[in-house]
Symmetry: C2
Subunit: 454 residues, 2 copies
């Protein structure tokens, strides 16, 4: 293993140059005008994989293509599927960038460019680890499957069908996903849990037209007011979600998890100061990290009714609507939660208005068992590569594709991310620390070696 | 008096032609491109008044001009100030008009055109009544002052200062306002009460930026949710406004008023059917007419927060705002109500968000004593002219200028309107019934004659 690590270190300059090359292609998946650039990035990856002797192909989809590769010559060894995405977020507002987003720029040991951390830098890490093995040994310690998609930033519409249709081809022992961050600098982290999502829209309709508040005010229900009442009734005084059955399937935090969360460096004052709020607010009886990572929520994402322009207009709105989403935790099911929510809202809705309930996209929560052997090996690999104790953490967001991998392939997802919390994902001046990048390659290589011992 | 009435009837054709002429001028006060037409209408009225021998002038304002006239030769007789407005509402949506809005069109005994009922037809009624006296007798039974404004449809911004600055010039015994409607066809009505208005805007600010609902959901207050809670807390279960002190100054309905309201033809089923709602909603213990005319309200006129576009966006909004207005009844004071409302909202606002409270325009409620002699004479005049019993009713809307007249001139306002409930004010195909117009002229003349007996 030492030789592989030595080779990785020798090639540091080359590795950096390669990332810069990849970052120069503006593969913004949301921008139809960049379709050619997204395709070009897929071709770049295909050529690179084929150059390593990995059997690869471009899989066309209704949207942007998937790059698939496999190298299955390690008989008896586990099969690892590496997932990453080569598309990037849009760059607006462009004027807030200190250097052009697709001209990778060095700054204090960091590389600044759109996609540096999310996810081109992290995706390339695995490719370079694989290269080191092949150069040094001519073979890989594991059987490798690679799925690089080009639509993660637009919701991965075509990846789930691809996985479903190719369950046998993609069969593996673990899915390695590197699209997350350390909890803090110097604190390598494995995410073993993510929240799911249920997203709905509620439209209340009252009178058949906007009414004059003088001519009608006081005699008819006002949908804006009714909506406010209904939203208010969805939480109790302890900020628990007041939807019957909402918590029934919630997996409670273990004492061990609570202790781990409590031991993490998290300063409430810094957190408040960053958001510029006087006070935080959340479910009674839980810490901020617990609320973010292990407790479900119900939030208004938007609402609108009546007159919202400048000044005053004495109108009684005919309609009011809002978007509500729930972040879900294991073992809540998005569809079931939507059903419970609809039932509660219908109960709250008075006969004076009618309610339309629209279900938007959702996704299940994700939880790997913290003692899963692949998770443990990832932890060890991180600790060796970074020389710091690694921690098991959870995240508040959703990576719906993790649930699809787990459900369809029956394999655990290992979320070993190499970003840092200040990488400015989706924002101007996105960056990756070179140190994270280089050590990430070592961690990836060590992971592939370590899992052969399972 | 019979001769005056006879002359009015003889001139019916001329009267109709005159209204058509006035309606052809598109005096839309809200449309800067119609400024010339508004001015042209003022000139038309000036010329017409001067032609009658009424001493008249155009009073320029920061906006559209006021036409002022006076004829003060009836020594010992009361002085009546006639108020009307010669500007009209915009005509959008134009495609819903069956005939061009400024080409007056006959239809089943009605004249269809913008301004037919609101307020050119009603304003002209008084001018034609005055003409009949002057033609028949060479003099008027009363001293007459006339104020025709051109900005009623844009909130009369320049009329209150004009009244304040000309209190002596405008001094009178009663103000006659014809800008309202019969309660029903065949039921001549005097409005003796109107509601006032307090209008505010509430802006809640939470975190300093929109947040990702996964990364932050559950740990910080969501201003949209807080706003919904605050709005919901502003009513109790009986739909009474839950703002301490809100009802302190409310003048309760007398038994007589309740009986009168109850005797009016009002069908709840028709009312619901017109609005297409399954159920009405309002303050417990009051009928629909009582709620509309004599009870104060608190309504959301508009609210907005976060993502309101198509589809789903998992954002926690940084801000939420709403517009709230209260319809007020005697003796509530707009400023005091705004102060009480602000106090209650500040009490409801948690430390996790900050609140900005903006006061928009307001206006006091209006109530004439039902037994005021000028009101009684108006009732008699209506009954004689229309041959039907007249009723005293109240209205739910606000005519802020009535409060200004009452406060500044110390004279009662008599709201003797000649419109009908189906006149489609502010809507396409506005109309006035010719019968209302012709009999209105007789009623105006009879009123001027009758008040000399007070």
């Amino acid at each position: 293993m030492d030789k592989v690590i030595a080779r990785i270190r020798e090639n540091a300059d080359k590795h950096r140059e390669e990332l810069r090359e990849l970052l120069r292609i503006p593969s913004i998946s949301a921008d139809p005008e960049r379709k050619g650039d997204v395709e070009k990035t897929a071709q770049w990856l295909l050529k690179r994989l084929q150059g390593l002797g990995i059997s690869s192909e471009i899989v066309p989809t209704a949207g942007h293509p998937i790059v698939y590769g496999e190298h299955l010559h390690a008989e008896g060894a586990p099969t690892i599927l590496v997932y990453g995405h080569y598309d990037v977020q849009p760059v607006d507002p462009l004027e807030l960038w200190d250097s052009p987003p697709f001209e990778p720029t060095e700054r204090d040991g960091q590389i600044v460019a759109r996609g540096a951390s999310d996810d081109k830098g992290q995706l390339l890490i695995h490719l370079l680890a694989v290269e080191a093995f092949l150069q040094e040994r001519g073979e890989l310690p594991v059987n490798l499957k690679i799925v690089f998609e080009g639509e993660e930033e637009v919701g991965s519409p075509n990846l789930p069908p691809f996985i479903e249709e190719n369950r046998e081809k993609l069969a593996c022992d673990a899915v390695l996903v590197s699209d997350t961050s350390f909890f803090a600098k110097g604190m390598p982290s494995i995410l073993y849990g993510l929240r799911g999502l249920a997203y709905v829209e509620v439209i209340l309709r009252g009178p058949n037209r906007d009414l004059h508040s003088g001519e009608f005010g006081g005699a008819v229900a006002n949908p804006a007011d009714v909506l406010a009442r209904m939203i208010a009734a969805l939480h109790d005084e302890d900020r628990r979600v007041a939807v019957p059955g909402f918590y029934d399937e919630v997996r409670e935090l273990s004492d061990g998890e609570r202790e781990t969360f409590a031991s993490l460096p998290h300063d409430e004052n810094d957190y408040r100061a960053d958001l510029e709020v006087e006070a935080l607010e959340g479910e009674k009886g839980f810490s901020t990290l617990e609320r973010l990572w292990a407790r479900p929520t119900l939030e208004v994402n938007g609402m609108v009714s009546g007159f919202t322009g400048e000044g005053a207009k004495t109108v009684l709105p005919a309609e009011a609507s809002c978007k509500i989403s729930c972040r879900l935790v294991p073992n809540q099911d998005p569809e079931q939660i939507e059903t419970l929510l609809e039932a509660r809202l219908r109960e709250l809705c008075p006969p004076s208005v009618t309610m339309e309930f629209v279900r938007h996209h959702g996704g299940g929560p994700f939880l790997a068992e913290p003692d899963n052997p692949y998770v443990e090996k990832a932890k060890e690999a991180l600790e060796e590569a970074f020389g710091e104790k690694a921690v098991l953490v959870r995240g508040g967001g959703s990576v719906p594709i993790t649930g699809v991998f787990t459900d369809q392939l029956g394999a655990p997802c290992v979320l070993m991310g190499f970003g840092l919390p200040d990488d400015r994902l989706h924002s101007p001046n996105e960056k990756m620390d070179w140190d994270q990048f280089h050590r990430g390659i070592e961690a990836s290589a060590r992971f592939m070696q370590e899992v052969t011992k399972i």
